[in-house]
């Protein structure tokens, strides 16, 4: 049994220790907001926060989740109130097919937690591990910059 928290809730999972955290979240815990894109750490669609740090959940085995605090896209909004990043994505139309969106939002949240007013360049760099194959980068970066009140 592996014990950790997801979005503040205690969970215990009984699965093979090498099961990908991505599969545990989606299949065992039914938190399907986290998406699988490439499944090999290239695209960032499966980004979650482990102890506040953005990581690719496709590259983390369940065994390494023991005792951690995980945040998925489902944990970004507070109750019914969307996070300013989510509001900005809506306002800017920063989603097309939407598969990459949860990963972008989680990565952007980690950036905001660490740096309250990043430059546009810092935003682009922080998001460099998230790919959008609809190539909507301009609107995504605009949304994050707007949400963070950056220049």
């Amino acid at each position: 049994m592996t014990h950790f928290t997801v979005n503040g809730r205690d969970v215990s999972v009984d699965a093979l220790p090498m099961t990908r955290l991505l599969d545990v979240l989606r299949e065992e815990l039914r938190l399907t907001g986290t998406k699988e894109g490439c499944g090999e750490g290239e695209c960032g669609a499966c980004t979650v926060l482990v102890d506040g740090v953005p990581v690719n959940s496709c590259l983390i085995p369940l065994a390494q989740a023991q005792g951690t605090a995980i945040t998925t896209v489902e944990g970004i909004a507070e109750d019914d109130r969307l996070d300013p990043i989510q509001e900005a994505f809506i306002e800017h139309g920063a989603a097309q097919c939407g598969i990459c969106t949860p990963g972008f939002i989680v990565t952007a949240k980690a950036l905001l937690n660490e740096c309250s007013s990043p430059s546009r360049r810092q935003v682009r760099e922080a998001l460099a591990g998230n790919l959008c194959r609809c190539t909507g980068y301009q609107k995504i970066v605009d949304a994050v910059v707007d949400a963070m009140g950056a220049d």
Binding site: R20, G41, C58, L59, A63, Q64, A126, A128
Partner: protein, 277 residues
């Protein structure tokens, strides 16, 4: 999906890790997982057991030592980027490894032991004359970087040893250089990666280390180029690059392009160091 059914042993202290390594020499060591998880998921690697050292005490951290700096094997690229104890070339290198998600998880030790010829940091360890501290239950030993990679993805570790730390003695007077050529700024595997170090005294090169990745079966030093630099050939020394490397055509690039780019990045760096653009 290939979920491995292999057992996982997790170590919380170095002693425990070494004992588990001794007890399960068939186990594959798992640190940040950024390479291993990809190999397993694709079916390219079958695990017979996993020794999980992520979070293990005594293997992380970057600290000053009597003679230099000790980088724990589990130091992540994010740790390296943020450490003011390390030379800027090494921090620049860390910033080119994948992107934030990979830098938060990928480790210095993983890059070294995985030993991909394209490993971003490997030429720099050669250029720095780094030594790798490896340990087993029987004790520890130091292996020079130049003796560590013995063949394609092969290294000098025995099945009972773990890489514990990397030791470097950076000299602020040296010109240390990192240059990676890839398809894009982030999330790229290198086509050619350069780590170089020159010690220049009175306008003359006294010591030269030139190392490249992605141009041979292992990261390599370029002895002909190094000798030509010390002999005073200056930028012309880059002409000897072809004598020292054996690049191949693969999915990321061609042998011809790699050779051409390798010569150019070596030449332009030497020019910068000698003050002649």
């Amino acid at each position: 999906m290939h979920t491995s059914t292999a057992p996982v042993w997790s170590a919380s202290t170095l002693r425990e890790a070494l004992e588990l390594r001794e007890a399960h020499p068939e186990a594959t060591v798992l640190a940040g997982g950024t390479d291993l998880m990809v190999f397993v998921e694709s079916g390219a690697m079958t695990l017979h057991g996993v020794l999980n050292i992520w979070g293990c005490d005594g293997l992380s951290g970057i600290e000053r030592t009597e003679n230099g700096v000790r980088v724990g094997a589990l130091a992540t690229w994010t740790d390296v980027r943020r450490s003011d104890l390390l030379p800027s070339a090494l921090r620049e290198c860390a910033a080119t490894v994948g992107a934030a998600q990979i830098q938060n998880r990928g480790t210095v030790g993983g890059n070294i032991v995985n030993g991909s010829p394209a490993g971003d940091s490997l030429p720099l360890w050669l250029a720095l004359d780094a030594t790798f501290e490896v340990a087993s239950t029987g004790g520890s030993r130091m292996v020079p970087a130049a003796e560590f990679w013995t063949g394609y993805r092969q290294n000098a570790l025995t099945s009972r040893e773990l890489l514990v730390a990397v030791h470097i003695q950076p000299n602020p007077a040296d010109h240390l250089h990192f240059r990676k050529v890839g398809t894009r700024m982030a999330q790229a595997i290198s086509k050619v990666v350069l780590g170089g170090r020159l010690r220049v005294e009175d306008g003359a090169i006294r010591e030269a280390r030139v190392a490249l990745g992605s141009v041979a079966a292992t990261p390599v030093r370029l002895p002909s180029v190094e000798a030509a630099l010390v002999a005073g050939e200056g930028r012309e020394a880059a002409k000897h690059v072809s004598a020292d490397i054996t690049p191949i055509d693969d999915i990321r690039s061609t042998a011809k392009y790699r050779l051409s780019v390798a010569e150019r990045i070596v030449s332009s760096w030497i020019g910068q160091c000698l003050g002649r653009p």
